[in-house]
């Protein structure tokens, strides 16, 4: 664990809503080493997005009520907002899920990428910010841009120029997604987080983007959040499955998909027809986040529940390269049934 980049310990995030307290993250444990690629999987509302936003302290109006996040030797939950601005972008960069809203309609792609480059060089004064434009051909900034963009498939000089001069609404889905990836990479972050990178894309561009992210994961530390199992299989060497604001199972991708330990993981994989078994409709396992059940959050829907499941929260059992939080497993990592 010498090159541990990210270490999340017992993270609790809550939202105070008129309907009651929503416990979006409920004791999350997660670790990532430099160079690794981790996939976070789970259905909508399981707390995936809140988790990644919390890593950057952008989870407002949610409140981090407990736990710690160590990133690159710093305790993120204790940093001031000013210090957070150096973590965001240069430390952790987010690739947003939808390019049509994540780019400012008032600027060309070149101007926005130029702004990001300026940010890397610390040009954050008001005047410098307002003036940030497309880097001119031949400058060092332009070479930087070309280097990153050619890695994303914009090899041709004329295509590149056209891309830089176009406005966000002129981009196709795949191009927009690549611009967002470029924007994150330009900051040379230690950790790149992709939030649902393929949901907004059609099938053809999805395959393209998956291939791109797969290549990317070879030389960057990448965290991918998705509810599509397929996406994660292509990209990640480790996955964590979330349910009810907890990591219920984690491990090497191959092991989790071929031999899922937690009943929820099995149901999730069945629902996407990736393993044999009757698919369960997702409505049947949707959790009410306000009236949180005691014990294991999954026990009301679990086909294998035992009496202990509704009484106490299952401890997280850690074994060689993963963990599982379920009463059915004992310390040795084998099923007690």
């Amino acid at each position: 664990m010498t090159d541990s980049l990210l270490e999340v310990r017992d993270l609790h995030v809550r939202f105070n809503t008129p309907r009651g307290v929503v416990r979006a993250n409920n004791g999350i444990n997660l670790g990532m080493n430099t160079g690794e690629s981790l996939g976070i999987m789970g259905e909508s509302g399981c707390g995936k997005t809140v988790l990644i936003l919390s890593l950057m302290r952008l989870q407002q109006p949610g409140v981090i009520v407990g736990g710690s996040i160590w990133f690159d030797g710093r305790e993120v939950t204790r940093l001031t907002q000013k210090e957070m601005q150096t973590v965001r972008g240069k430390g952790i960069a987010l690739i947003p899920q939808n390019h049509s809203t994540a780019l400012n309609p008032a600027y060309t792609v070149g101007e926005q990428l130029g702004e990001t480059l300026g940010r890397r060089q610390g040009k954050t004064g008001l005047w410098q910010t307002l003036r940030a434009g497309t880097p001119g051909a031949g400058t060092r900034d332009y070479e930087n841009l070309r280097h990153v963009l050619s890695g994303l498939g914009f090899n041709d000089e004329s295509v590149l120029r056209r891309l830089l001069a176009s406005y966000p609404h002129e981009l196709s889905g795949g191009m927009g997604q690549r611009v967002l990836i470029a924007m994150a990479l330009l900051l040379e972050p230690k950790l790149v987080i992709a939030d649902e990178p393929t949901t907004a894309l059609d099938r053809a561009t999805r395959a393209e983007t998956l291939e791109l992210l797969g290549r990317l994961s070879a030389d960057t530390t990448l965290m991918v959040v998705s509810h599509e199992v397929e996406t994660l299989v292509c990209i990640c060497n480790r996955v964590a499955v979330m349910y009810g604001g907890r990591v219920v199972e984690s491990g090497v991708t191959g092991r989790v998909f071929s031999d899922p330990h937690h009943p929820y993981t099995r149901i999730l994989l069945q629902s996407q027809h990736l393993i044999r078994g009757k698919p369960v409709s997702s409505a049947a396992v949707a959790l009410d986040m306000v009236n949180f059940p005691p014990g294991c959050p999954f026990h009301p829907f679990c086909p294998e529940a035992v009496p202990a499941c509704s009484r106490e929260e299952p401890p997280e059992t850690v074994f060689d390269s993963g963990s599982v939080a379920c009463h059915l497993y004992n310390g040795s990592g084998t099923c007690s049934k």
């Binding site: 950057m56 952008l58 000013k82 601005q85 150096t86 973590v87 965001r88 972008g89 240069k90 960069a93 987010l94 947003p96 939808n98 049509s100 809203t101 994540a102 780019l103 400012n104 309609p105 008032a106 600027y107 702004e115 990001t116 940010r119 954050t124 008001l126 910010t129 307002l130 940030a132 967002l180 924007m183 994150a184 900051l187």
Partner: protein, 278 residues
């Protein structure tokens, strides 16, 4: 041909700006365009003639020359007041809408207070105390007119601050000031432009009103001031239409032009309006 194309693209904005450009040019080049010195005393109460296109007033000043020169003060006061109102309104609107919380409450509270004060009586009252100085009047009008701009900008910023690009800028490490100046400001500019035009019309009307009431600067000619003299020195009673009609028409035309531009902007932002207009 280029003009024709511009006109076809948006006749409202085109004709409005053509009209306002005409008045601005006339005001800027008035010293060279005016046939007489508007301050020079000649024979009083002359009727329109080739020598004096619009006749002369009670002290024998050429009314046509007066009309040209007076445009400088009317437009100048209007523009500087509207500019001040726009800058203040945008700054306060963005700050309140983006930062929210206590700052928003305080700023919007202040905005509402200024908004509910009846404009004209307040301006009359204060201008009596300030005395008749042109910068004073512009400043006063500017300070009265920013709240409506601030309100409109704030409501737009409220939706912009939730926009995806604001969140992604934040996720890449941008601070509040950065986002406000770089990402929020350019997206409210079209709105500011439309609002500026309306404010300009309002500011010119207020200036004309207080000048007409005799609270303007008597040593500076403005259209309102001309109306004031035409009224107090018997222009209306003697039915000297060439004295009181031209300044009134000039004010009406400029405000008409500004409203045309504003209508054009609105039509552009909401194409459904076009059907109503046709």
């Amino acid at each position: 041909m280029k003009f024709a194309r511009l006109f076809r693209r948006n006749p409202l904005i085109f004709s409005g700006s053509a009209l306002i450009t005409f008045f601005i040019f006339a005001a800027i080049f008035s010293p060279w365009l005016a046939p007489h010195d508007p301050w020079q005393y000649q024979q009083a109460f002359l009727e329109p003639s080739p020598g004096h296109l619009l006749g002369t007033n009670d002290v024998g000043q050429d009314i046509f020359s007066e009309l040209l020169v007076a445009g400088r003060v009317s437009l100048g006061v209007g523009f500087s007041a509207a500019l001040m109102a726009a800058v203040t309104g945008v700054a306060i609107g963005i700050l309140a809408g983006f930062r929210r919380g206590m700052l928003d409450e305080v700023l919007m509270g202040a905005t509402d207070v200024v908004l509910v004060i009846p404009t004209l009586p307040l301006v009359v009252l204060i201008s009596v105390y300030l005395g008749p100085s042109l910068p004073g009047i512009s400043l006063l009008i500017g300070l009265i007119m920013w709240p409506s701009i601030a309100r409109v900008i704030r409501s737009r910023v409220l939706s912009l601050r939730q926009a995806g690009f604001v969140e992604s800028a934040r996720a890449l490490g941008a601070g509040d000031w950065w986002i406000m100046s770089r990402h929020v400001l350019p997206n409210v500019l079209p709105l500011v432009l439309a609002k500026f035009v309306l404010t300009l019309a309002g500011a010119m009307l207020i200036e004309a009103s207080i000048s007409f009431l005799g609270l303007g600067n008597p040593s500076a000619k403005s259209w309102g001031m001309m109306l004031h003299y035409a009224f107090t020195r018997g222009g209306f009673i003697r039915e000297m239409w060439w004295w009181y009609l031209p300044p009134g028409l000039a004010i009406a035309m400029v405000i008409f032009a500004l409203n045309l531009i504003n209508l054009g902007f609105e039509e552009k932002s909401d194409p459904r309006l076009k059907k109503v207009l046709e």
